[in-house]
Amino acid sequence: MDKLHVKLQVNGKPVEALVEPRLLLIHFLREELGLTGPHIGCETSHCGACTVDIGGRSVKSCTVFTAQANGAEITTIEGIKGADGGLHTLQEMFREHHGLQCGFCTPGMITRAWRLLEENPDPSEAEIRQGMAGNLCRCTGYQNIVKAIRAAADARHAQKEAAE
């Protein structure tokens, strides 16, 4: 089968590669680009551990062919950081509020929460729970994840006010 020439932006950097059309995006990211932040939890489109951002949408990268993402802008957990290059507010808040235990689901959780807050900077608890429904966690019971996301929204709001 002919390989396909793909060109995309990953975490702000241009990437070009020759790929088999059947290569799933998660395998391209992990095995060819060495971006092992996005995890493979279920491989069946359910757990959300493989979530990455494609052109402004949270997507399960185990259910997308790299070919479909040709031309797209992709952000993985490796591309999510604070203005100073350190931890992003969401990452700080996950740490502060114990939003993780084993950490397996965390890259997908934060990548998804990042898009959620971009779309809705002031989500209610119900909106956070609905918005995070595609990400499973086997450890935390979700309570602290919801708290961390809400705290990140508050912190970002405070940062903005301080800047004004």
Binding site: Q68, N70, G134
Partner: protein, 291 residues
């Protein structure tokens, strides 16, 4: 969980996609959001040699109103449908159903066209489209034709769409202002298909039911448009006796199978509950001018 290999095509317009479909025949499959097809390919239950990705076809995107019809491009995602003010105002039943499909990630990419073309009895939109008496526009080598959702589903994964046709648009008649609607879905967890679900659309005039349409999801090999169940409500005040009659008619029309969502009797029980609650919810909304 590695799919078989295939050649990937990304045509720029419907005509080019149609030519590819004709050229490769049953070796080709259309790729929309891929969130039904790719899981099947990973399981090797689908092994197309050619995938025709519709994502670059701008003409298949977007939602517009054409008189008393809402016209939705096949590549419109569930996410876009949920956020669209026109849909919320004109056909809120569509939004009520879309928010109950899968999870946010799936809804960002899953399309309305893929959901109705797939033919999986677990999909939610086919029953909703039957309830609304929507039609699907199919484009093939012979031009375009429209098929009513109520005549589209023949068996599991078998529809009236010919192999060389593309489902290009979904056409939904806008219900009369003041119609009551509901989509009630029982599922084991978020992101699951329905154990049973009921779509209801009611017209109420002077306290009496003037029109009623009822369709059920995942309770047979195809969605079930329960015509007699709707008819049992018309002319009544939607009292308990009318509800019981509608439920009896619905139970006669469904044919659920035992699977990991439960035995047949359980599914019939859940179907009964979903329909009762959906009628009550729709009746509560009717006449409030929310369409």
């Amino acid at each position: 969980m590695i799919p078989g290999n295939f050649a990937y095509h990304r045509p720029a317009d419907v005509a080019a996609a149609a030519r590819l479909l004709q050229e490769y025949g049953d070796e080709a499959q259309i790729l929309a959001g891929g969130h039904s097809l790719i899981p099947m390919m990973k399981l090797r239950m689908a092994q197309p040699s050619h995938l025709i990705d519709l994502q670059d076809i701008a003409g298949l995107k977007g939602i517009g109103r054409d008189g008393d019809r809402l016209v939705i491009g096949a590549m419109t995602t569930q996410h876009e449908l949920i956020g669209d003010p026109l849909v919320a105002e004109a056909v809120p039943l569509l939004r009520a159903a879309a928010v109950q499909i899968a999870d946010p990630q799936v809804r960002y990419v899953g399309t309305i066209g893929g959901n109705v073309a797939n033919g999986d009895p677990g999909n939610d939109m086919p029953g909703v489209m039957q309830c609304l008496d929507a039609s699907f526009e199919l484009t093939g080598p012979g031009g375009t034709r429209e098929v009513r959702a109520r005549a589209f589903y023949e068996a599991a994964f078998t529809t009236a769409r010919a192999e060389d046709e593309i489902l290009t648009r979904v056409i939904v008649p806008v219900p009369k202002a003041g119609s009551g609607y509901a989509y009630l879905k029982q599922k084991r967890k978020i992101g699951d298909y329905a154990t049973a679900a009921a779509a209801v659309l009611l017209g109420v005039e002077n306290g009496s039911c003037a029109s009623a349409a009822i369709a059920m999801t995942n309770l047979a090999a195809t969605p079930v448009f329960a015509e007699a169940a709707g008819a049992a409500l018309v002319g009544t005040t939607l009292d308990d006796a009318a509800m019981d009659a509608a439920i009896a008619a619905m139970l006669a029309a469904i044919d659920p199978a035992t699977d990991n969502r439960g035995p047949i009797e359980f599914k019939r029980h859940v179907a009964r509950q979903m329909l009762r609650r959906a009628i009550a919810e729709a009746a509560g909304r009717a006449g409030r001018g929310t369409a």
